[in-house]
Amino acid sequence: MNYGIVSQEQLEQIDTILSSKLIKLGVDCVIIIDMAGNIITAKDNGESKYDVYSFAALAAGNFATVDAMAKLVGEAEFSLLFHKGQESNIHFSKIDDELLLISMFGKDISLGFLRLNVVEAIEQIRTVWEGNKT
């Protein structure tokens, strides 16, 4: 698990991906966290005021719980999660074994459209992240 330090350049590349793929689409807030509950990066539309640190801790716990449930029903993993509310929704998607992408968005965006963009963003982030490991 040697990913503790990410270069400034990599973070900027990841931030650019998040902005162009998700914030531009109308997503309120995007966070990348690791499974220990640390925030790797957080981007928002400038209006949302979420307590991202508590959010990260709870999201990591939530994902770990779902992972354990997957094992119970014989699945290797559930790689995405979606919570739907009246005004806002949360979409969780696994980037790799260590990272999780969380998008918080309102009712103006369709889930399908968001998912398409999340998939593209994740592919691009993986490429940047892999560069970190080598």
Binding site: I5, Q8, D34, G37, S54, A57, G61, T65
Partner: protein, 201 residues
């Protein structure tokens, strides 16, 4: 493992309060939350059962100021103490930077303390961490009960039981009154930050 953001110059440090059920881990965090309220921007998060027992974890983040231009964000977690919840305890320990082991000084809890410490050792091993290397502070909690006539173990006995091999800093404390809660916290933060600095150099 702490996460260091070079772009925003932020270091996130994860400290876990570990110990047997009803030893006072959550009480430690609640006291810190009350006492240092003006330094803490977020609310404390507690995932509890109806009977007020910790089900998953408590979480309390706060800022410690800057070291060499880096913002230090301390994240305090507790684990559920009940024996049956070891899977959850293990999850919370993932990526831990420092541990406070809270022992219950009540005489009847002697065996539970030892069991819990042994389990911490095993759980850390599963993440390839060693209890002998990770920053650790031991707290002998509930010493205020002596005044109320509840039989408690002398600190020398607790120390022999729990700290004779580890030889880490330890404190007598009373989480409910706040005695030595801040001292414990200060000690674990300083040991953890020093250990992170060493890893980086």
């Amino acid at each position: 493992m702490s996460f260091i953001n070079l772009k925003e110059k932020v270091v996130q440090v994860k400290i876990v309060y570990y110990g047997p059920g009803r030893c006072g881990k959550t009480t430690n965090l609640e006291y810190i939350n009350r006492k240092f309220r003006n330094q803490i921007q977020s609310e404390m998060v507690s995932l509890k059962t109806h009977g007020d027992r910790t089900l998953f974890f408590d979480f309390l983040p706060f800022d410690m100021g800057k070291i060499k231009g880096y913002d230090i964000k301390i994240q305090l977690y507790t684990v559920p103490g009940q024996v049956k919840y070891n899977a959850t305890r293990k999850l919370v320990l993932k990526g831990v930077d420092g541990v406070v082991f809270v022992a219950d000084a009540m005489e009847k809890q002697r065996e539970k303390n030892i069991r819990s410490l042994n389990q911490l050792h095993q759980n850390l091993q599963s993440y390839k961490e060693s209890i002998f290397k990770l920053p650790l502070v031991i707290q002998y909690n509930k010493i205020d009960l002596k005044e109320h006539g509840v039989p408690i173990l002398p600190t020398a006995v607790l120390r022999k039981d729990l700290n004779s091999r580890l030889k880490v800093p330890d404190f007598e404390a009373s989480a409910i009154t706040g005695y030595n809660v801040a001292a414990t916290l200060k000690k674990i933060i300083s040991s953890t930050v020093v250990s992170i600095q060493k890893k980086l150099l």
